[in-house]
Symmetry: none
Subunit: 140 residues, 2 copies
DNA sequence: AGAAATTTGTCCGTATGTATC
DNA sequence: AGATACATACGGACAAATTTC
């Protein structure tokens, strides 16, 4: 049977489907995605196509794959905001905008920015450091 | 013929070979890489493997591929990254650890760290910039 | 400790679709 | 329109890491 792909490629469609499951919380951060062979039968796609879909999510940093283990859902940038509220290892401070950040926000270099830093540890070792930059409310 | 791969996977070996050609100037910036089918016969590898090698280079920002055209060597890996990514939503790159991050991760200042940056906009205006730092996992 | 099962990684070959020249 | 080149998709086979028994 041929392999036509009208519109969205299948691997992208599958990636979007999985992305929704993740972002809606059906598959929470830290949980394992269904195995490749499961997804293969679920979507009736070849393993290569499924792997391509997962690779797309991985490129976006949404998931991480480990050999022999599986593919884990990562703490996504958006959800990181919510995590900050409950996490203890979090800190807020005002910093001066770097050249890069200033350009992004469209402000002057050195202008004040609000930085929220969150540190995630595993067995005491720092695993991830998340920094969220926003404009101070006073400038809005 | 089976598929043994002692040590380095073939697609990585091919990627390294191509990287050398690029960085040594044999294939100058702006030039086209050999076509996939050419590389297929050159390395006696399947097209999928060649494409995997090219994808690796693309991930590093060393080349860019255009449908129906070919794969171009980028002007300057580092500079091109900054220029091209000014609009994209998320990007990954390797950065040198600042004093603060080095202390947190327990590494040396300037050691490589993986940074994933995510930009959230609202009506075109940058609202939030999220940066997630992790230790590079695999040996690069 | 060791064997088996599970799961992801690599590689091949083929066929067809789509964009560019 | 035809040729060239990259994109998508399938299926099969074996390798390597992890978990389970």
């Amino acid at each position: 049977m041929p392999t036509p792909h009208y519109g969205l490629p299948r691997y992208r469609a599958i990636a979007e489907e999985l992305r929704e499951r993740i972002e809606s919380g059906v598959i929470p951060p830290g949980a394992l995605l269904p195995t490749e062979s499961t997804l293969t039968t679920e979507y009736r796609a070849s393993r290569g196509t499924v792997r391509q879909a997962i690779a797309a999510l991985r490129d976006d940093g949404l998931v991480a794959t480990e050999h022999g283990r599986g593919t884990y859902v990562q703490v996504s940038p958006l959800k990181a905001c919510r995590l900050l509220e409950s996490d203890s290892a979090t800190r807020k401070r005002e910093v001066a905008a770097s050249a890069e950040l200033a350009k992004l926000f469209g402000i002057e270099v050195g202008a004040p920015l609000l930085e929220q830093e969150s540190i995630q540890r595993s067995d005491g070792a720092v695993e991830t450091v998340t920094k969220i930059y926003k404009l101070p409310k006073t400038t809005r």
